[in-house]
Symmetry: C2
Subunit: 208 residues, 2 copies
DNA sequence: CTTTGCATTAACAATTATGTTAAACAATTG
DNA sequence: CAATTGTTTAACATAATTGTTAATGCAAAG
C-alpha cells in the first residue's frame, strides 16, 4: 500500500469523525460508527488514532483553528473607513458561519462541558483578541470623533455581531418549523437574515 | 412512609436529573450519577421512572413548557404603545434567560440531535406563534403608519431579540475568559449587556 | 395481629463501547 | 528473494451503564 492510500484512509476517518463529533458531540459519537462511515474496521481507527479521545483532539484542534482564524479575519481591512469596515466584518462573519453552520454549536458545547481543558487556548486567543481590540476601539473612537459614527464599545459590538450571526445557525433547526413560510426557502431566509443583521448593526453605530 | 416523603424523593430525583441533563445532555448524563446526587440507590431511580429515557422526557416536557410560556409572555402587554411594548419584551426575555441560563442550549441541542421527536410539539407551538405574530405584525404596521416607529418584519425582530439575549448566555463560558476586565464582574457585565441589547433593538425600530 | 401492598436494597444480567492482541498479510528494501 | 517494516483483520478483554429481580422491610388497613 502506498503513501497516498494510507493518507486517504486517515483522511476518511478524520472526515467521518468530524461529521460524527460535530453533529452528536463527544458523548454521543461512537467510534464504531465513525469507522463504519469511513469504511474501515474499528480496529483500524484505533490503529491510526489510538483512542477516541485523541481522534477527538484532532478534530477540536482543527476546528478551533478555523474558528479563531475566521473570527479574527472578520475584522478585516483597517484601511476601509470605519463604518464600511464594520459592514464588511458583519458580512464576512455571516458568510463564514454560513459555510460552517455546525461549528459554533460544537465549540460552545465543547467548552461548556469541559472548561478545564481550554485554559491555555483561552490565554492565547485572549491575548490576540486584546490586541485587535485595542486598535479597533481606538479606530472607533477616532471615527466617532470625526462624527462618522456613534461612539460604541468595540467588545459589545463584537458580541452583538457574533450573537446575530451565530444564533441564526445554532437555532435554525429549532426555529425553522416555527416560522412557516418565512423559512420555507432556506437560501432566501438566510439572505434576508443576513440583510437584517447588517441593518441592525449599522443602525447601532449610526450617528444620530 | 407517608406521601410527603415519597413525593420528596421523586422531586429530588427530578431536580438532580434536571441538573445533570441540562449540563451534560442526554448522552453525557449518567443515571447512577443522578441517583447519587439525589441520595437514592440507582434501583430506586428505575423504580420511580422506569428508564433513563422516561426520566429525560419528564425534564424535557417541563423545560419546553417553561421555555415556550416565557418566550411568548415576552411579547407582553398589547395595551402599551408599540415601542414600549418592544422594549418591555426585550427586558422580560433577557430576564427570563438570565434566570434560566442553561435552558436555551439544552433545548437547542435536544432538537438538533433528535429532530424526529418534536414534530407534534412544533406543530402546536407553530400554531400559537403564528397567531401571536399576525397580531403583532398588524400592530407594528399600524404604529409605523402613525409614524411611531420603523416598519419592520415581526419575525425578524423576534429572531434578533432572541439572538442577542440568548447568545449572551449560551456563549458566556466561551467568551468570559476572552473578554478580560469587561467580564470580570458577572453582574456588571450582564447589566451592560442587557442595556446594549435594548439599545440595539430600539435603534432597529426607531423611525429615522 | 396479620395481611396487603408499596418501598427499598443488593445482587445480578445484558448490552454496548472502547481498547488490545496475536496472527495473517502486504509492501518495501537491501 | 529474504528480511523487515508497517497494515489489516478477527477475536478477545475490560469496563461502564442501563435495567431487572427476588428477597426484605415497613406501614397502614382491615
Amino acid at each position: 500500500m502506498d503513501n497516498q492510500e494510507r493518507q486517504n484512509k486517515e483522511q476518511e476517518i478524520l472526515e467521518a469523525a468530524e461529521q460524527e463529533f460535530l453533529t452528536k458531540g463527544y458523548d454521543g459519537a461512537r467510534t464504531t460508527s465513525i469507522a463504519k462511515a469511513a469504511g474501515v474496521t474499528h480496529a483500524m481507527l484505533h490503529y491510526y488514532f489510538r483512542t477516541k479521545e485523541q481522534l477527538f483532539e484532532r478534530i477540536v484542534d482543527e476546528k478551533f483553528r478555523v474558528m479563531s482564524r475566521s473570527t479574527l479575519a472578520a475584522f478585516g481591512d483597517p484601511s476601509l473607513p470605519m463604518v464600511e469596515r464594520v459592514r464588511c466584518g458583519v458580512i464576512n462573519h455571516f458568510d463564514f458561519v454560513s459555510r460552517n453552520p455546525l461549528l459554533p454549536r460544537f465549540i460552545i458545547n465543547e467548552i461548556v462541558s469541559r472548561p478545564e481543558r481550554y485554559g491555555v487556548l483561552h490565554a492565547r486567543i485572549g491575548a490576540i483578541i486584546d490586541n485587535v481590540y485595542r486598535g479597533l476601539q481606538a479606530d472607533i473612537d477616532a471615527a466617532a470623533e470625526r462624527g462618522e459614527m456613534e461612539r460604541v464599545d468595540a467588545k459589545m459590538l463584537f458580541i452583538s455581531i457574533m450573537s446575530l450571526n451565530i444564533f441564526t445557525f445554532i437555532a435554525y433547526p429549532f426555529m425553522k418549523p416555527l416560522m412557516g413560510e418565512l423559512m420555507a426557502d432556506d437560501a432566501k431566509f438566510l439572505e434576508a437574515r443576513k440583510a437584517e443583521n447588517i441593518e441592525t448593526i449599522m443602525r447601532r453605530i449610526k450617528k444620530q
